[in-house]
């Protein structure tokens, strides 16, 4: 489903050039669940943003479902984001003016889903993250962990085929983190392809495939692949 070839991303700020990604190659098949790990500043978020059609890249080719993303115009990219992709951002990026219900509603509105269907989806996804009773609260009335869960609910409500999660459990206690992980696994079983960045080795281990980004490149993506038991044993 995702096919990146020789992707590089250079951030140009005044005097400094940052090579956030260099010669980045990756294939992701439909239905995979991939955990991405790596040191801070290694380019994980950059990779996720490019994979999520949020950011242009400097070089290389990126095919998503066979579509050459580099050749799309702005509207077509917005459409792809809206139709195919769900995000859980590293910062939760909730809209402060909107209550939880309305925050979850945002992508559904842009997708043109009817009000009744929106309501059904919002309620069920808030239910899934255990915040149904807080639907009318504003983000600032919630704890960091709760906001994180709203961000997850917002991604889930769109029933994306491709879910990108940047530290989705970063602000959660280990119990909650495990619940979120189970939720993601559930969605994955239901057919969504998931790429998740995490610092938590335990969570990473639960994912069927791991890749590690170091210094803007994939370092070693066979390490835990397909064999979590090997790690536990090591």
């Amino acid at each position: 489903m995702l096919n990146m070839n020789g992707i590089s991303k250079v951030y140009q700020t005044e005097m400094v050039q940052t090579h956030a990604l260099r010669d980045f190659d990756l294939q992701v098949n439909e239905g995979e669940f991939i955990a991405v790990t790596g040191p801070s500043g290694s380019g994980k978020t950059t990779f996720l943003n490019i994979a999520g059609v949020l950011e242009p890249f400097t070089q290389g080719q990126y095919l998503l479902d066979g579509v050459d993303i580099g050749k799309l115009n702005d509207n077509q990219r917005a459409d792809i984001r809206n139709q195919k992709i769900g995000y859980i951002f590293q910062g939760f990026n909730l809209i402060p003016d909107l209550n939880l219900y309305e925050n979850v509603e945002v992508p559904l509105r842009y997708r043109g889903i009817k009000a009744a269907e929106r309501k059904r989806r919002i309620e069920s996804s808030l239910e899934q993250v255990g915040l149904a009773s807080r639907a009318k609260h504003l983000p600032q009335q919630l704890s960091g962990g709760q906001q994180q869960r709203v961000a997850i609910a917002r991604a889930l409500a769109g029933k994306p085929r491709f879910l990108l999660a940047d530290e989705p459990t970063g602000n959660l206690d280990s119990l909650m983190a495990r619940q979120v992980m189970e939720l993601l696994e559930q969605i994955n079983r239901d057919g969504a392809t998931i790429v998740m960045v995490t610092h938590d080795p335990e969570l990473a281990r639960r994912a069927p495939r791991n890749i590690q980004v170091v210094d803007g490149q994939i370092a070693d993506f066979s390490l835990y692949q397909g064999n979590p038991a090997a790690v536990v044993g090591a």
């Binding site: 459409d79 984001r81 910062g91 909730l94 003016d97 945002v106 992508p107 842009y110």
Partner: protein
């Protein structure tokens, strides 16, 4: 989606109440001032008698000898001479017509405690009433017979009738105008016009008259004009009868020409009339000339809406532009601060267009609120104008068109001011603000 945008906009306005208030006030003041000047302009330039304005024609004759100049745009005297007026009245033509002058009298009624008071009058022909759509509530116009026999008759307006006779049917009663006693034959509704288009020689925005006398009373009663008299020729005008025979201009002449053919025919009549007069020794000039202008042409010709009014409207639009520039600055600051939220919306699938429209709806909403507030400011402005100058009493007012156009103008200018900020904000790249909160 539109109502959703309105909802979002309303919240956004509430979130920054001070900035929103500033913007609304800026719009309201700008719109208020613009609408004040525009309303006056609109009223000034409005057609005062739409059903007849293309039909009623004002007559001007070039009676001056060659080499004489007048200060009008077309070198044509604004008024006609008394002898010409009489000749035109006597012409055997199927058109309604009236000569007229402005006059004024001390009015008093016998057996009344009321003190005499000065009142302006219009001395004209009986056709005046039907030509200018004046409605009778009692009695009727005087007749041609009354005119021919120089009968001392008068038509008064409803308000004068209210003052003098408490609104009773006063037909048959007499009143005294200076030393002349006249019998009331009719009472009309007050002349419903705010532009004195039928006599633009002495200010376009004065109240219409309340006393109407037959033109034929001028000669026997030596009624002097309260309007302008202008001469171009050295003449020995000693007494009133000299003036009647002189080449001085002091009479207005109107004729009712329903069709273009009538207008053409009347023009030909005027030419032959002048040629005839030439034989009698007047009109010492090579080319004979006349002007027939309908009501609207007359208003343009006499600059009812003058340069000052136009400049005022322009200035107020410039003021609006300044308000707009301020709003633009505030919007820019406000919208750009919202870039992170826009980034999230873009990441969640909003297209540029959707973001753009959302922000335009927000400025549109500002415009609606500012526009409605602007109407109140304009009403206050117009009230001030009415208080400051009697000439504006009737025209400093807003009709429905103006009331409706206030919010429309406000919304369009706000959207104009909002275009650039909205465009800037919709260009926010989705990823920029997502890396951290």
């Amino acid at each position: 989606m539109f109502f959703h945008y309105v909802d979002l906009s309303w919240r956004s306005l509430k979130r920054t109440p001070m900035v929103s208030l500033l913007m609304v006030i800026a719009i309201a003041v700008g719109i208020g001032i613009t609408m004040t000047s525009l309303s006056v302009y609109h009223m000034m330039s409005a057609d005062p008698i739409p059903s007849k304005s293309t039909q009623l024609h004002h007559v001007q004759l070039q009676t001056m000898d060659d080499g004489r100049d007048w200060w009008s745009d077309d070198n044509m005297p604004y008024q006609v001479t008394y002898p010409d007026a009489i000749n035109l009245l006597n012409a055997d033509l199927p058109y309604r017509r009236t000569a007229m002058i402005a006059a004024g009298f001390a009015v008093h009624v016998d057996d009344s405690d009321m003190k005499p008071f000065l009142e302006r009058a219009r001395v004209a022909n009986a056709d005046l009433f039907s030509m200018f759509n004046l409605e009778f509530i009692y009695g009727s116009a005087w007749t041609r017979n009354d005119e021919d026999s120089q009968a001392s008759v008068v038509v008064i307006s409803q308000s004068l009738n209210d003052t003098l006779f408490q609104g009773e049917n006063s037909v048959g009663k007499t009143i005294n105008l200076d030393g002349m006693t006249v019998r009331i034959v009719g009472v009309i509704k007050d002349w419903p016009t705010y532009v004195k288009y039928y006599d633009l020689n002495n200010g376009a925005f004065r109240d219409p008259e309340h006393i109407f006398l037959p033109f034929s009373l001028i000669a026997p009663n030596e009624i002097i004009t309260w309007g302008n008299s202008n001469g171009w020729k050295a003449e020995n005008v000693r007494g009133f009868q000299d003036k009647l025979k002189s080449e001085q201009f002091w009479v207005q002449f109107w004729v009712d020409l329903p069709t273009d053919e009538d207008e053409l025919a009347y023009g030909q009549f005027l030419m032959s009339y002048m040629a005839e007069q030439q034989k009698l020794g007047r009109f010492a000039r090579k080319e004979l000339d006349f002007a027939l202008r309908d009501v609207k042409q007359m208003m343009v010709y006499r600059e009812v809406v003058n340069e000052d009014n136009k400049i005022l409207v322009m200035l107020s639009f410039m003021f609006l532009a300044v308000c707009l520039a301020n709003i633009l600055g505030l919007l820019l600051a406000k919208f750009l601060r919202r870039a992170p939220e826009v980034g999230v919306r873009r990441a969640l699938g909003a297209s540029k267009t959707q973001v753009f429209i959302q922000h335009l709806v927000e400025v549109g909403l500002l415009g609606v609120i500012g526009g409605i507030l602007g109407i109140f400011i304009a009403q206050a402005g117009l009230w001030g104008m009415r208080k400051s100058n009697d000439a504006y009493t009737v025209i400093a007012d807003m009709d429905l068109t103006m009331l409706l156009s206030a919010p429309a103008i406000a919304v369009s200018v706000c959207i104009l001011a909002g275009l650039y900020p909205a465009w800037l904000v919709c260009r926010t790249t989705p990823a920029t603000y997502l890396k951290s909160q």
